[in-house]
Symmetry: C2
Subunit: 209 residues, 2 copies
């Protein structure tokens, strides 16, 4: 089904707005700038988005969803794993590839920058991304507990620890060092392997050493 | 030894600058604003600090040092622990109390906001704080390994995992939710206890369950 004229305009607005927000920051961007960059009237921008906050929120939600949805599909599959250590490393690598996408990291920094003034943005970022993936992971770990492949009294806690062991270090580095701090493939593999090793030592039925 | 007139002026500049930076952001603050708030001439500000970046860097270094130094003293003591589980929980609680100080968290957000433009700020923040505490922790874990109380092939990796299990979750939440997201005492205790339990299950000589 081809996009309508109105849908195409909406896409152009979102695309132009994303670029300007990432370049000039949230406060440094006006609806006028966005209309000009998208090649539409300011009235058209307002016909799609009530205000700048609504437009930015839309960008946050769609970016977080687009990057997170494929990873959550992989999380569900891990519950049926036949080779847990290998499958968790594979999942960890995919999670790293997801959260380390430059556009998502830039958006994360922008949301953090504005968090004290616009806590809604931060809540949405956490809830659409991390919280949903964490819940899917907790379900998978509970199932793996039933299968005797993990020992988990508290699957939500285990999911939190898994995410912290895998994702917290590299994301934190990029927040402080900028996109040049994004780890390359070999470093991501090391983070995934070491993180899963520690996780399985903590939550596996036997310690692998 | 009483402070000289010049030292008192320098302190007044740093105090005024910290408040304005945290309120108006790095880019939203000028050396004129700082001179006015400190009640000194702009020339006096420049006689102490070459430019705005040097002044902000000074604030970052002194804040990170002041909050981190007492915690590192505690890290060194853990190497001689007679009750490792209890002492690690105690250390974790003190680390949480340190990183969750509102002024340090606000400064962290400000440094992150500017990281793409001023990576030096981010490097300094990481190196003066996290990296030094991590190195002290790695030394302590290596010593605990020699004493047979931990099993650590790679003490730096173990220190990284310890920090991630304890600090990453709450700091991340505050970055997204603002200071209202700072966990209270009971929640901090839970984070410390669960984090240390997972750490000792992964790196202790026996699993405690």
């Amino acid at each position: 089904m081809p996009a309508t004229r109105s849908e195409r305009k909406r896409d152009a607005i979102v695309e132009a707005a994303t670029e300007i927000f990432l370049r000039s920051g949230y406060r440094g961007t006006s609806m006028d700038d966005i209309a000009a960059a998208a090649g539409v009237s300011k009235q058209t921008v307002y016909s799609h988005f009530a205000d700048k906050e609504a437009l930015f929120l839309d960008i946050v939600v769609s970016t977080v969803d687009e990057t997170g949805d494929p990873v959550r599909a992989g999380v569900v599959e891990v519950a049926d794993s036949g080779d847990l250590a290998a499958d968790l490393v594979d999942l960890a690598r995919r999670q790293l590839d997801q959260v380390l996408q430059p556009r998502l990291l830039q958006l994360r920094r922008l949301v953090i920058s504005e968090a004290e003034r616009f806590p809604t943005l931060g809540e949405v970022f956490l809830e659409r991304g991390q919280a949903r993936t964490g819940a899917a992971l907790a379900d998978a770990f509970a199932r793996l507990g039933e299968r005797g492949l993990l020992v988990v009294d508290d699957p939500v806690q285990a999911a939190t620890h898994f995410n912290q062991l895998i994702l917290a270090g590299p994301v934190n580095r990029v927040m402080f060092l900028g996109l040049v701090g994004i780890p390359k493939r070999a470093e991501r593999d090391r983070i995934a392997e070491q993180g899963v090793r520690a996780f399985l030592a903590a939550y596996g039925p036997t310690t692998p050493r």
